[in-house]
Each structure stands twice: as C-alpha cells, then as structure tokens.
Symmetry: C2
Subunit: 324 residues, 2 copies
C-alpha cells in the first residue's frame, strides 16, 4: 500500500481489488483516481463497496448541497453561479449531476454541462455526471457514494444537482446536508414541488427568474404554505435570484450558510441518522439481490404460469414465495 | 355471503374483514362499495390485500391506460377529453389521479378535478384521486390495486393519470396496459421525458398544444429519437392534439386503440408478466416490513451509535445486519 499514508487504516484498503483505484490516490485528491472511483461507484463495479467503506471514515468534512426542482427552473445555471461564488471565497467545489438515465437512452443525453466550461481550467472544480445504471442500492446510493469519494478527496463543497421532480430526487435530497429547491414563477411549479414531496426536504427555497412579475406572488405563496409545516420543524429560508443575470447569489449563499451553521450544532447526530438510513437501504438491496438470485424468480414464474387464472391472487402468491 | 354470486369463489371473499366492503358489492358495481374498496387499498387498511386477492380473478377485462408526462403538459384536460370520447362510444370510464402526496401536505393539494365536473352527473364515469400514503407496496401497488377494484367493478376503461416525471411515474406506467406520454412543444420537455425513462414505457406519444409553432419540431425530434430504440421493440405512435380546443382527440384514440389491438395478441403473456413483477414487489415489501419490525432497526441504531467513527463503513454494516 505505498500510496496509503500510514496514519490511515490500511486494512480496508488492502481489500480493494487491483482493478479499482487505491483509496490513497483518492485521499490524495488525484483526479484520475477520483474519476475512476466515481466510475466504480456509478456502475457498481466489483469492490466498489469495499472502496467506499475504506473512504468512509475520511468523509464528513465536505458540505453536500443538493440542488433540485422542476425541469426548466434554471438549476444548472444557478449551480454554475454557486460554483463561482464558492470558488471566490477559496473553497474547492465538485458538482455531481445526477441523471436518472435509462438503459435505452444510455446516458446519451448527459453532457449538457457546457455552462460549466467556464471552470474547465480550474483545478479547484470537478464536474461529473452520474447515470447510476448499475449502482448497488440504486440512484441515491450512487449519489451518496460519489459524494463520499469527492468528500474524501478533499473537496470543500459537493453540489448534487438532480433532474426532474420525483421520488428519486427526494431520495437523493435526503442524502445531502443542505437541500436547495429551485422554483420559477410559473403557474403550478410550487404546487408540483409540494406534490412531489420536495417541500419536506427543502432547507432553502430559491425563486429563480425573480425578474418575472409573478415572482413576488410565488414567494408569498411559498411562505404561506411553509406555515403549514409541523410545529417545531425548522422553517426553510425563501430567497429570490436571477441566475442568468447573476442577481441574488450573495443572498442565496448566505441562506445556505445559515442552514449549514444550524446543522453544525447537531452534526454528529445528523451523520449517524444518515448512516442508519443508508445501511437500511443497502441491507434491503443486498437481500433483494440474494433472494431472487436463488432460483426464486424462476419458481415464481413457474407458479404464475401453472396457476389457473381463477386461482391467481397477488398477495397470497407473495406470502407463498416468502414461505409464510 | 348473500351478495356474492354463487358462481364466484366465496372462499377468498369470506376472509375479507367485515370493516371492508364485500367483494360482491364491488363486483356488482355498487359505487359505495367501490369507493370504500379504493379507500382500503389507498390506505393499506387491514384486509385490503385479501380484498384485492378476492377481486383479482375477476380482473383483466378493463383497458388500463396510464397518462403521464411533465407538469403543465395538459394531462388533466386531455384525460377529460378521452373520457368524453370513450363515453361517446358507450364505454364506461374510471379515472384514477395518482398523487405522490407527502405526509406534510396531507393530500390537501388534491382535488383539482374541477374539469371532471362535466361528467359529475354521468353514472358511467367514476373519478378518484389516490394519495397512497399508507399503501402496502407503495404507490404502484396502490395504483394497481385501485385498477383491480375498478376493473372488477366492470369499468371498460381505467385511466391512470400521474403527476410529475420521475421513477414513481415510470413504476406506475409499468402497471398499465397502454401508456400515453403527453408532451408540450416547450424546450426541454422531450429531453426531460427521456431522462426520466418515460421513453421506454411510452406506447403512444401525444404532443399537446399542437397549435404552437414548435410542435412540428418536437414531433420530428421524437420520431428521430425513437429510432434509437433497440431493434425489435415496438415503435410507439406519435400524434398531435390540442386538448383545450378538442382537436386531434380522434387520432389519439385511434393510436391508443392500435396499441390495444397489438396487446390483445399476447394478452395472457402480458398479464402473467405483470403479475410476476407485482408479486416480486409485494414480496420485497412484506419482507422489508417484517425484517425491520423485528428489533433490527433498533439494533442498527445502537451499532451505529457505539461504533468508533473510524470504524464506520456502510457496506460492512449492511452485511453485518444481514448476518453475512
């Protein structure tokens, strides 16, 4: 393990397959090692779990910010502005664009990260799209594993940008420290965000395209709705910005900083809770793969084929498969 | 079982708790029994699984059409037009509006079914929102269970309208016979739909608001992209409509009919495959609830709290919880 500093536990690192980058390379922030580790996590390559486990004790230093909201809200432009703002105060930044791509499109639609080109020459910025097709534990585990890699590699801020509004986005938002929900003053957006459950996970709301006349109305509607949140839960900040013009970014960063400061007070508890949730998800994924791999998928197919249609009953069949 | 016709299996019906409607009432199409059965499925009330099992052998007659697409695409208006079209040819129609509501908003945002008021006096139409907060097996099982109830109750067509674009919508789409994806000629929509995996599940695309100048471009882009689908997979139809004006509805219905006719040729196979997938999902849900209820959630919390942070490793912990 020549490249693993002696002060770091080498036991776990020793188990990482040779096909994967050394944990030490990631910890040293070597860009090639980081990129290869992300590929391993994204595709669920053999040993990716061991690699993440080896890196995990070196995580917890980066600030993980989820950026989510409906299509067309201007998330990418806003993310780009945030990168510039964090860089201006000397922080290094990684951006993970999570894309729930499908086997059919094969991730071919990724790569509209052109806006990030302004940071292409900056070693303090790392941009990566994540399709997460083969990841162990699905999209949110891939995103969380990617954040672990970038956190362990020493980035100060990791921005996780998700596409769309749905359960996948909510799941990913639950793995970050601070969740920024971007909305635009167009009819229905706030309602859609609430329907998708983004209201619960939002720590900061940013009403983008705030130069539009309906922006003030959306801000009011948001604040009114937020009062419906249960007693005792933290009230998310609501700020306005115009990402394209670059207006309001300072206020947005201040709101994000405010949430981080509040989080710092109960950081250990937050980390432990997140680990619990993650292990639950991993346990379920491991069980699922093992259970169906053991001939049970075929047995179920036979049972369905052989049953008389009048005897088919989904719940009873499920109980039978489990031997209940 | 006075209300269960003798020709129907009464064994399963006998196990349905008295707090739930009799299967016979649903099979007779009694609206109150149907509404109560849907409530049971939506909230995962005790015995809802037995009720669905009892109804299941009487399903397979209704045509289940999923209507999905990004927010603002005009799904509700188009659904309303389809109801009118199906009614005009004498078919009875049920509409299930699936809403991934959250505990916080409590489904308060449901109920924008005002447009359906035109059918309020029509006994051949049944409209129901589904929040699916407590459903066994999640949103897609709730939607599928609701379709079973409405199918068994004798509706000819069941339209399942989903909100948003995400994994939840794709999951629900997989439970219907024909999936209609509604898009509007606004930048990014087609790309968003593809990213969310709707491209795979679409059987018919409808470009709504087709009077807009960009509509022709979207149709061309869709057709070009569809050529990327794997060899041998069926090519979805692409039609245009203007739901608000009522234009293009005949063509849309013809495209949907075309898909149904193709499906009829391999109906038994489709039904069996869907049942297999559903049982898998139910097995996983049952196992998950039983596993964590058995003191394991608390044991995991203790393990995380007691571990030295340098020893924390998500995948190793998951293996330990499973006793691997």
């Amino acid at each position: 393990m020549p490249d693993v500093p002696a002060s770091r536990p080498s036991g776990a690192a020793a188990l990482v397959p040779d096909s994967l980058p050394r944990p030490g390379g990631v910890l040293a922030g070597q860009r090639r090692a980081v990129a290869r580790a992300l590929t391993a996590v994204e595709n669920g390559l053999p040993g990716a779990d061991v690699l993440v486990d080896a890196l995990y004790p070196h995580t917890g230093r980066a600030w993980r910010i989820g950026v989510t909201g409906p299509p067309g809200a201007g998330k990418s432009t806003l993310t780009d502005r945030l990168v510039t703002a964090f860089r201006a105060r000397g922080q290094t930044v990684a951006v993970v664009a999570v894309d729930p791509s499908s086997p059919f499109t094969g991730g071919a639609l990724l790569g509209d990260r052109v806006r990030m080109d302004g940071h292409a020459e900056d070693d303090g910025v790392f941009v990566r799209s994540l399709a997460a097709r083969g990841a162990l534990g699905g999209l949110s585990e891939a995103a969380e594993g990617a954040c672990d890699v970038l956190d362990a590699a020493g980035f100060d801020v990791v921005l996780v940008e998700t596409v769309g509004v749905g359960q996948g986005e909510v799941d990913v938002a639950e793995t970050t420290d601070t969740t920024l929900v971007v909305l635009v003053p167009e009819s229905g957006d706030a309602v859609q965000a609430m329907k998708a459950g983004l209201m619960e996970v939002a720590d900061v709301f940013c009403v983008n395209k705030a130069d539009k006349p309906e922006a003030a109305r959306l801000v009011r509607a948001l604040r009114a709705t937020l009062h419906l949140r249960p007693e005792g839960s933290a009230q998310p900040a609501v700020v306005t910005a115009s990402a394209l013009a670059g207006d309001g970014i300072d206020g947005l960063v201040a709101a994000l900083d405010g949430h981080r400061a509040a989080l710092a007070e109960r950081w250990d508890e937050v980390r432990a809770e997140r680990l619990r949730r993650r292990v639950r998800r991993l346990v379920e994924g491991r069980w699922r793969r093992a259970f169906w791999a053991d001939g049970r998928a075929e047995a179920l197919a036979r049972a369905v084929a052989e049953l008389d249609p009048s005897e088919r009953a989904p719940h009873r069949l499920a109980a039978r498969v489990l031997g209940e």
